[in-house]
Subunit: 141 residues, 2 copies
């Protein structure tokens, strides 16, 4: 069966109805092509940024607090905080001369879901392999 | 209490014993400064690479299979596969002219643990906030 244009183009103002090949892939497609997942995983790919999230998970902190904690310049910390802000993981608010950072609206729910889904697929595959080995026990040379 | 040199230097052949300030941070330090976490999260920060992992989760595939599935050039797919290989998430084996890709030894266990730990901290913080609000109900103006 031929895959519909949806699968090949990936974009377009009006998507044609999904063919039988593409339909089961729709959920994966939606989860896979997610700019928010891209931004969150990229934000987590740095030890300082993971550290900032852990620190803010305990309590809010100013840019200066974070710079002191991570032994970095204010400019360096600001760059990391901007990446976290762009990913929706942190918000900041400036009052007077102090910019306070706190955790943002996104709580890594989608990232957890993606990893859990992936690990579930792996487990199912291992189960199938186990069943196959059990079924064919003694029949293989 | 003054933080020990361990917290400030982060490196060194012989680490001094941890002070009371640094000791509770040791686990976070070990998890936070992990090149494998950096590489895995960076690998996951791209929709095509997440797609390749999902595809290989179902069954092994050649570079050509993947190129066709993701409508990309062989060179483009190879670059993505190399990033996944460097992160230990995929292994490849060349037999004749065909390079077969399969899932590697790493199964995102550490990444799951990090995200779970982070979400646990958030929940504990929300619980504390709830308890505080419950305790102070009616006492605030």
């Amino acid at each position: 069966m031929q895959a519909s244009a949806f699968c090949r183009s990936r974009v377009g103002p009006r998507k044609p109805p999904l063919c039988a090949v593409c339909r089961p892939l729709k959920l994966n497609y939606m989860v896979q092509y997610s700019p928010t997942l891209d931004a969150a995983f990229a934000a987590l790919a740095d030890p300082t940024r993971r550290g900032i999230l852990e620190r803010l998970g305990r309590r809010d902190a100013s840019i200066s607090d974070l710079a002191e904690r991570f032994d970095m310049t204010l400019t360096g910390i600001k760059k990391h905080v901007t990446v976290l802000e762009d990913a929706g993981l942190v918000t900041t608010e400036k009052v007077g001369r102090v910019r306070t950072c706190r955790l943002g609206p996104r709580r890594l729910e989608d990232e957890t879901k993606w990893i859990e889904g992936y690990r579930r697929t792996l487990n199912e595959r291992l189960d199938s392999l186990g069943e196959f080995l059990e079924r064919t026990k003694g029949t293989l040379p």
